[in-house]
């Protein structure tokens, strides 16, 4: 597998949200406005990049018994760091993300990539993988939030779009609207990927080992394409 595909696979083919169905909490909670969605996407990309690089560097040092706690500590460190940065330079976004910023720690995508990719590959590949997955996550969140904000509030990134001639449908910015739009988008991706998703088992069912287990489907796909 070339470095190029390592990067691009996360964007469409193995999009973490719309194809692999990981990290659903922030995909639903942070997508009622485009601004928050992009903020969440970039924050998660930062954490993903940091943790993937560090874990890839330490992959031979960390004993397998404490693998999960070690990963979690490293990830939590980067989450706290991005919290400091946002609080200092983008206090509005920091306030908007609230508890969900801290909850990046338990975002399945990050642990899944640490477990399935970074702990098996070299630093350069892990960094590219993180960037691709992060970009895919950000794009998916942007797509969901675009639909929700335009239909629900009539605006995009706060700028009026259909607000003045179509009465906004508040349903789309409510939690129920989040599930609905996400469901429809997954169905669309399902058609585009020739019904791959229908065959996929959802979420954590029957997996062990924390939410790294959530990435079990990711691990299956990763088998046979690990590179050293």
């Amino acid at each position: 597998m070339s470095y190029l595909t390592t990067f691009t696979k996360g964007i469409i083919k193995e999009n973490p949200v719309l194809v692999m169905l990981l990290g659903m909490c922030p995909s639903l909670a942070m997508t009622s406005s485009v601004k928050n969605a992009v903020g969440m996407g970039l924050a998660a990309t930062f954490v993903l990049l940091g943790s993937n690089v560090v874990i890839s560097l330490l992959k031979n040092v960390i004993p397998k018994q404490v693998r999960l706690p070690s990963f979690i500590v490293i990830i939590a460190g980067f989450v706290t760091l991005i919290g400091f940065i946002l609080q200092r330079y983008l206090p509005d976004l920091y306030a908007a993300m609230g508890v969900f910023l801290s909850l990046i720690v338990v975002n399945c995508i990050i642990l899944a990539r640490a477990e399935a990719f970074a702990s098996k590959n070299n630093v350069a590949a892990s960094a590219l993988d993180a960037l691709g997955m992060g970009l895919g996550f950000t794009l998916a969140l942007t797509a969901i939030s675009t639909v929700r904000e335009i239909l629900g509030a009539g605006t995009w990134l706060g700028l009026p779009v259909t607000k003045n001639f179509i009465e906004p449908m508040a349903f789309f910015v409510t939690p129920a609207g989040g599930f609905f739009v996400f469901g429809i988008l997954v169905a669309v991706v399902n058609i585009l990927t020739k019904y791959q998703i229908s065959r996929k088992k959802l979420g954590c069912e029957g997996c062990k080992g924390g939410c790294a287990g959530c990435g079990a489907s990711a691990q299956d796909q990763e088998k046979g394409e690990t590179q050293e």
Partner: protein, 212 residues
């Protein structure tokens, strides 16, 4: 790995007295390493991460410098058009984060916080009271309510409902001090009403200072 070496020595010392079998000795060595190594690695990782965070925290910490008076004066023009310029008051009152007095005695403007639908992020607003206790205006400066619903509290139509009210405000209670709020955003509307009523209590407590 100094630490684990020392521990192995202790285990080895005890074990050789108790049991001379080489097989057991090797096994115990391995067991000790299996137990000690993960602990040492995890502790080291945690230490490094914590130290890095402590250092960055020092550099990124934001000092709370209080409100920006220029900004307050700009917003003040809509909240209390009668006032010329505002100065921050030294007094504190429950229900108010900061109190500002109009220099020409037109009234007191209060910055306060309340909770709406989004329990994580408080709504910050400025509300003005004139000498008689009537609300002169309202401006929401910070909020993260639901776009399209709760965030309508920032709009002029919402603020105008409060202007001129002189008593405790009720939510759809009827009568002269009742407001209708925003349909579909009960939490945000009620939060604002509660916040404004608390601000009024703060105003009542400090209004004596207005004429000084």
């Amino acid at each position: 790995m100094k630490k684990s070496g020392a521990l192995e020595k202790i285990i080895r010392g005890k074990e050789t007295v108790r049991n001379a079998s080489l097989y057991c000795y090797v096994n115990d060595m391995r067991a000790a390493r299996d137990i000690v190594k993960p602990i040492v690695v995890l502790v080291l990782i945690t230490l490094v991460v914590s130290a890095a965070l402590a250092v960055t925290y020092r550099f990124t910490k934001v000092e709370d410098t209080g409100p920006d008076l220029n900004e307050i004066n700009t917003i003040g023009k809509t909240v209390m058009p009668e006032a010329d310029e505002f100065e921050q008051m030294d007094t504190e009152a429950e229900g108010a984060s900061y109190l500002f007095r109009a220099k020409n005695g037109a009234g007191i403007m209060i910055q306060a916080e309340t909770t709406g639908y989004n329990a994580n992020v408080p709504i910050v607003f400025l509300v003005g009271f004139d000498q008689n206790g009537a609300i002169t205006g309202l401006s929401v400066t910070e909020q993260q309510e639901t776009p399209g619903l709760g965030d309508k509290i920032t709009q002029a139509e919402f603020a105008l409902q409060f202007v001129g009210k002189t008593g405790e405000i009720g939510f759809k209670t009827g009568g002269e001090n009742s407001v209708d709020g925003i349909s579909g955003a009960t939490y945000s509307s009620k939060g604002m009403i509660e916040g404004i009523n608390r601000a009024r209590k703060a105003f009542e407590a400090v209004k004596g200072e207005l004429t000084q």
